[in-house]
């Protein structure tokens, strides 16, 4: 417990988290720090390239130390189980509102790249190891939950007004830019190895934490602007967005621990399960479920769950995973 608090404070006391808070506050007091859209987009591309590239390089250096097959299985399990639980919980909470339940399930089943990156930073700082291929697992986990959620909506709802076919959404989900970029960079990092790493690390590796800091400032502002819509979301969904990540995090970590995955990677599985998507899922859901309310899913994911996860969630999931390991190890 003591350790948890200490980890929490040490996580808070990093430039990234503090700049996120600064951005949030700036947006709330309507102080205009106008970060151009194009910058947010390129920083997001940079972070994915860099994280993928570094993961690939680490695999090339250390080989597949952890259990890749198990990890792939875990990824799919989380991608099926978490959106399903979210869906049925929300059906209860929203009194049978299938569409919005499915829309939100797609977001909480999918993952957030920046939450993952912040978790990696936390692990690096704490000196805890994790598998280089975890970035690949993240890419794997982006789409399945979206499919599962749409399927659930289809099962429970007869009238379905979208003009977009499942096929179109499938294509979009599989060849989604972020998936291609993450896997591509992973592969390139793996292929070019140490030589490639040395050539480009002054761009992809050294300034990475600083770039993340700038990105989090912007994320803070985006979240802070969204928070005004909190009233539209309402208390029920607001609390859901705050608390359900913990449920998902425990599910993710537990599955990973049961498969014997190490502390670092299992923590990351917890973080991925707990994280919610705010790029891939909204785009797909807007197309497939036009009647769903974007104010719900975007605000919950971006303005509540994301801040919670990066500020308090990550150290929490780490402590929980460590506890789970002790419990399951003792069995």
């Amino acid at each position: 417990m003591n350790e948890l608090i200490q980890n929490g404070i040490s996580n808070l006391n990093t430039p990234g988290i503090l700049f996120f808070v600064l951005g949030f506050v700036a947006a709330v007091i309507r102080s205009e720090i106008k970060v151009p859209d194009s910058i947010v987009k390129i920083l997001s591309i940079f972070l994915m390239m860099a994280i993928g590239f570094k993961g690939g390089f680490e695999i090339s250096k250390n080989g597949f130390e952890g259990n890749l097959i198990y990890s792939i299985i875990i990824s799919f399990l989380i991608g099926v189980i978490t959106p399903t639980i979210v869906f049925f919980t929300l059906i209860k909470l929203l009194k049978g509102d299938v569409i919005n339940s499915g829309a939100i399930a797609a977001h909480y089943g999918s993952v957030s790249v920046v939450t993952f990156i912040t978790a990696i930073t936390f692990l690096d700082r704490s000196g805890i190891k994790y598998d280089g291929f975890m970035v690949g697992m993240m890419a794997l986990m982006e789409s399945p939950a979206i499919f599962v959620s749409l399927l659930l909506v289809n099962l429970f709802k007869k009238t379905y007004s979208s003009e977009t076919s499942f096929f179109d959404i499938g294509k979009e989900a599989l060849f989604n830019g972020s998936i291609v970029l993450l896997f591509g960079s992973l592969l390139i990092g793996f292929i070019t190895g140490t030589k490639g790493y040395e050539l480009t690390s002054p761009f992809f590796v050294h300034p990475f934490q600083g770039v993340l800091t700038l990105f989090l400032l912007e994320m803070g502002m985006i979240a802070g602007k969204r928070i005004e819509e909190f009233t539209k979301v309402g208390l029920k969904l607001g609390l859901f967005a705050l608390l359900f990540p913990i449920v998902n995090g425990i599910i993710g970590s537990s599955i990973a621990v049961m498969f014997g995955i190490g502390l670092g990677s299992a923590t990351l599985f917890g973080v991925l399960a707990a994280s919610s998507s705010y790029i891939a899922a909204p785009a797909a859901v807007r197309l497939a479920l036009p009647e769903a309310n974007p104010s719900y899913y975007i605000t919950m994911s971006l303005a509540i769950t994301f801040p919670f996860n990066i500020i308090l969630g990550i150290p929490l999931y780490y402590s929980l995973t460590s506890m789970l390991q002790n419990i399951i190890g003792a069995l």
């Binding site: 970060v35 974007p294 975007i298 971006l302």
Partner: protein
Amino acid sequence: MKKLEIIIESVELSKVIKAIEKVGVRGYSLIKDISGMGKHGKSVSTSLVDVNEYNMLVIVDDEVKINQVIEKVKPIIKIYSGIMFLSDAEIISC
């Protein structure tokens, strides 16, 4: 001749353009990065998500063609978000 202005969300843009091209208009113009307010409230786009990001398509053509476009685009707008404005305009032939 008629001028049709279609305001449509980014996620639906390619679908609308395909519909227009199927009708076979003389041409169209696209103004990106529109925001605004309508039946669905104020558009609150963020640079991270495409949702709630609008575009304006401008088409000037014969009334018949424009009417065909309208019929094609109506159902898309009905399900999603957006609006169409119709007015008179002439193409200056060069």
